[in-house]
């Protein structure tokens, strides 16, 4: 049926007769190759459990604390708080203060990842800096097509001190939002601990 029309104008159809069609085909091939490579690499090298950092290091403590929070074991996560911080913040307060993290769906969504940036000594212990990265997207609707997607990131820091043979948090660690009894600047009467490194 279209034979006559093709004779009218040869530069017309979606076949590979035109430069634009050839470009489109080349782009499609490149996209397929890129997608196949990317997905293969992702499944082969970016899947499964992450290797845990050495236990007894500040970074290892931060990683285990975050994993515990992600698994929903708030009781075990609470144990990573120093005794002083636990005095100011009961388990119930700790539980309540991380509830936002579960309610926003971050724990379950899989759209969150955390990267270690640096570890540096501070007055009484160490500060571990991490970058929290979230992938976000909007739910599609007829009036708001699903084009809004991307990534946002921000830095967080964890302050730890050595207590016995383990590193514990002395400031409320993310995703703890608040602790009513806790004061940012600790009173001078607070016992000092050395942090052998």
């Amino acid at each position: 049926m279209r034979m006559v029309s093709r004779s009218v104008c040869p530069e017309n159809t979606i076949s590979l007769q035109t430069t634009s069609s050839r470009w489109l085909a080349a782009v499609a091939v490149v996209i397929v190759i890129v997608a196949v490579i990317g997905i293969t690499v992702a499944f082969l090298y970016r899947s499964g459990d992450l290797p845990l950092l050495p236990e007894g290091t500040p970074e290892g403590t931060v990683q285990r604390f975050l994993s515990t929070i992600e698994q929903g074991d708030s009781r075990l996560a609470y144990d990573y708080l120093s005794p002083t911080l636990q005095e100011d913040c009961s388990y119930q307060l700790f539980r309540d203060s991380i509830r936002w993290f579960e309610s926003t769906g971050d724990r379950d969504s899989g759209d969150l990842r955390i990267l270690l940036e640096e570890t540096r000594p501070v007055a009484d212990g160490v500060e571990v800096r991490v970058r929290i990265i979230r992938f976000y997207f909007s739910t599609p609707s007829p009036l708001a097509p699903s084009f809004d997607a991307g990534e946002s990131s921000y830095a967080e820091r964890f302050t730890l001190e050595m207590s016995g043979d383990e590193w514990l948090f002395v400031d409320p660690p993310w995703p703890m939002s608040r602790c009513p009894g806790y004061e940012e600047d600790p009173p001078p009467a607070r016992p000092l601990r050395t942090a052998p490194r």
């Binding site: 104008c9 992450l50 990842r113 992938f135 007829p142 009036l143 699903s146």
Partner: protein, 602 residues
Amino acid sequence: MGLFVSLVPLLVIGGIIWAVVALVRRHSGGEGEPGIGTLRRLYYYGLSFVGLMFSASGAVMLVDYVADSFDGGQILSRGQGQLAFALAITIVGTPIWLFHWWLAHKAVRRFPSETRALGRKVYLYLVLAVSGALGAFGLISLLRWLLGADNFNGLHLALPLVWGGVWGFHWYVGRQEVPRTDVGESVHRVYVYVASLSGLVMLLAGLGIVMRQLIGQVYDAIFDVQVLLPGRVTLWNDTSQGALAVFLVGGMFWWWHWHRVSRSDQDSTLRQVYLHLFAILGGAATVAATLSILLFGLLQWAFGEGDTAGVAEQFRFLPAALAALISGGALWGYHWAVVRQESATGVAGSLAARQVYRYLLAALGLATLAAGLVILFGIVIGVIAPQSGQELLRSDWWRNPIAYAATLLLVGVPLWGFYWSGVQRDTGAGLLERTDLTRRIFIYLVLGAAVLAALGNLSALLFMFLRDLLEGELSAQLVQDAKWSIGALLTAGAVSVYYWLVLGEDRRAAPALEKPSTEVPPVRKAVIALATEAARPLVRRLEAEFGVALSQWHWADPDAGVPTLADDELRATRQRIVEAPGDRVLLIIDASGVRVVPYREG
């Protein structure tokens, strides 16, 4: 200075009045017909409108007051403020409306052409719109009460009674005033199609909620969901009762305006806009969005990070999504069938509207596809490029994003592919012009958006590179940080190159297409071909020759035959169509040749 500032609102109001007067003068045709004059007309109908609004609002409050007394419920304490206020505005408003309406009526009796004045039409249809909206709202509240979703309130009776009465009276007056002018007909159409659309939206919203409730019950039964508060999840609850009321009133509103009033209005451009740009496009967008939701849920469950609470929670969106899919599909399917049925009668405006619709859907598909590509490129760069910091949580962060990208691509590619390839095919076949304004607008908009996106992301990329370079922190981490910008740049680059090439091809092909049109004037008529099925190839040749799509009526007699036409005979047929009187032509195609029969409807 202060005096000047205080005069600004007055100047604005004066400017608006002047613009309205100029518009009315230009369109009412009153210059050639005797009448009461634009300013006096504005005064009559403006005061009529204000008086009517006061009067009707007072009447609503009065009926509400009286109806509350008949309720039988014990009224513990009620002041007389409502009654006093209702009486006051009714007593003031009713005479104002009656007097000015009587003046307008007297003017109509003196000058019959007054019935065609734009000012009168605007008044009539503005009152119809306001009273129709408030009457429908009142009717919904009445039905909600009757169905048990609400307690009795006098307003349940007052609103539909009073505003329904106002609507009925003005509808009757408007219907009596024939023949109408083009301008009056336009005002009428605006009202009819806005009312049809409002009714349709209410109908579909009500239907969607009722369906969601129904499917939700089935879903809960299948997944054995533990119900803690049965009152809120039973089928016959406040939500379904309210939705049923909205469905019934919306359905009635839509049926009246769409099926009864606009049934014979097939030549209207506004009807085509309503059909293609609101009903069909709205239905298509609803279906596409709902399919995206369904697909993403499925892909997320299959290889993403689904809801850890289980399958029932993961697919909790199913009842709402299926309800939206059914509503959107019904909206799309029904109106598409209407368009096909009407295009068979050769409505001239439907072709242009259908082109706009195709380009809009192609744009929607392209935007979805491009968003999917940006995310895909970003993920691929994210998993391949080295990361400077140790990952503490989530090595498989890419699972949900890839499910999202796959969803967008699976929806966007077929949508854009189907409509764009259709447009390209018809353009190549000569059924659409390469220089068509809609096509050029579409291509330049896509090209402009793609080039701007490419430039914006190139700037972002350059900024990140220079920042890291100047701060001495340039590393492979830059690729990770800039992965979304790189993805957007690659996508925008690919799209802009493609449409630049298409534009070039259009430019090169245009002279070849325009050449015959300089010799023979273009066919700008609705053409119907009455021919047998065997003549379809000939009809396509005629379409290619004329540069317009033909509607084909199938000749049931297979013996009618098909003529053999040479190219010069095709051109001669074209010339006869161009020279035929009117804007509609019927081609009778049989073995003896092609007969050109100009006709008109009515």
